[in-house]
Symmetry: C2
Subunit: 208 residues, 2 copies
């Protein structure tokens, strides 16, 4: 799962760091081919058709700060991955080259139709969506994050010094991704012994 | 979205009503072919491979009773549909024959790994999953509900007199399904004028 779900403050740093890319004049959107990442000439990522990807999980108002308020409005995070990468993970317990993980934020609502309690997902995206892509030949660290502020615009690269990269490297369970929050993939990684050393210790200590 | 997300009390009625089916001796599980519904000789529904279906939405602790507590533990509901039906809905705004909608309940957790707030989905299913299937030649009302108490067992038919049927008929936005809670499909149904009269009135009055 992507940083924003956990680290709202750090994300602001990411967003600010990405700002020069947002102002780049070449932002032509194209439909990306199903699955593998595709790029514009300026290095932007084309928007993936992620609502037809494989679904991994949803969180709500997640944060590593127990006092975080999220600004008053509740938000769901939905995570998707391209089908080719999903099938490879099921077979191997880790991600292949050309993996495309997408985190979509949606405003949570309570009152609507016959519902009066809990939360459901609204039509309104919260802050667009973000992509974590593995492209070994393209990125020195194999993975990169891209920020999409609208569904029909290309995504801008978040620079490798942003805190999302170090947080994922330090705390994510498998290959810098938060598989500890993907309920159908975590048991596969456990069985195939692909968990990071840090998370494997936590998992065997009952943190699962 | 299926009844349980909204009507915990009514679901108990459904579950009790389905009990004779649960005790039926013929409960051999088979992997269903991708997409279309498939049945055992006794009429049970074979378990669909729904985690590779198209994702529609997630709710948490939804209920039409504002004082409902859900028994103390929070629960996510994830909704999936077979890809063939999804693509047909995108084109037409309603569901074709052989639609298979799946509602999966998962226990929500708060503390785990670096997360200390909000909720994420655990590995633990809550009460298995349920399926709403459209099979016009098979069911007098075109649609039927099936209850799966385990992922690798066949599903048992919920009798047509159960309150889930009447609730869906009365309150669901499109063709007895709760499209009002599927954020990417609701605008399609609105544009294609396939909303029920009751929900269309509510929607145009600002209930969306």
């Amino acid at each position: 799962m992507r940083l924003r779900a956990f680290l709202p403050a750090a994300l602001i740093v990411c967003a600010l760091a990405a700002l020069p890319f947002c102002l780049h004049p070449v932002r032509v959107a194209h439909a990306a081919p199903a699955g593998a990442p595709a790029y514009a000439a300026n290095g932007d990522l084309l928007p993936p058709n992620y609502r037809e990807f494989i679904y991994l999980t949803t969180g709500i108002d997640m944060s590593y700060n127990p006092k975080a308020t999220g600004g008053g409005e509740s938000m769901f995070d939905n995570v998707f991955v391209n089908p080719e990468a999903y099938h490879s993970f099921v077979a191997t317990g880790t991600w292949p080259d050309k993996t495309v993980l997408v985190l979509e934020g949606r405003v949570a609502r309570t009152r609507g139709s016959i519902n009066t309690r809990g939360h459901f997902q609204s039509e309104q995206l919260m802050g667009g969506f973000e992509v974590h892509v593995k492209d070994e030949a393209r990125f020195p660290g194999k993975w990169a994050f891209f920020d999409f502020d609208k569904a029909d615009k290309n995504g801008t690269l978040i620079p490798s010094g942003a805190p999302c990269y170090s947080c994922h490297a330090q705390h994510a369970a498998v290959d810098t991704t938060f598989v500890q929050f993907y309920p159908t993939l975590l048991p596969i990684a456990r069985a195939k012994h692909t968990l990071s050393e840090e998370f494997a210790r936590e998992d065997s200590a009952g943190g699962k």
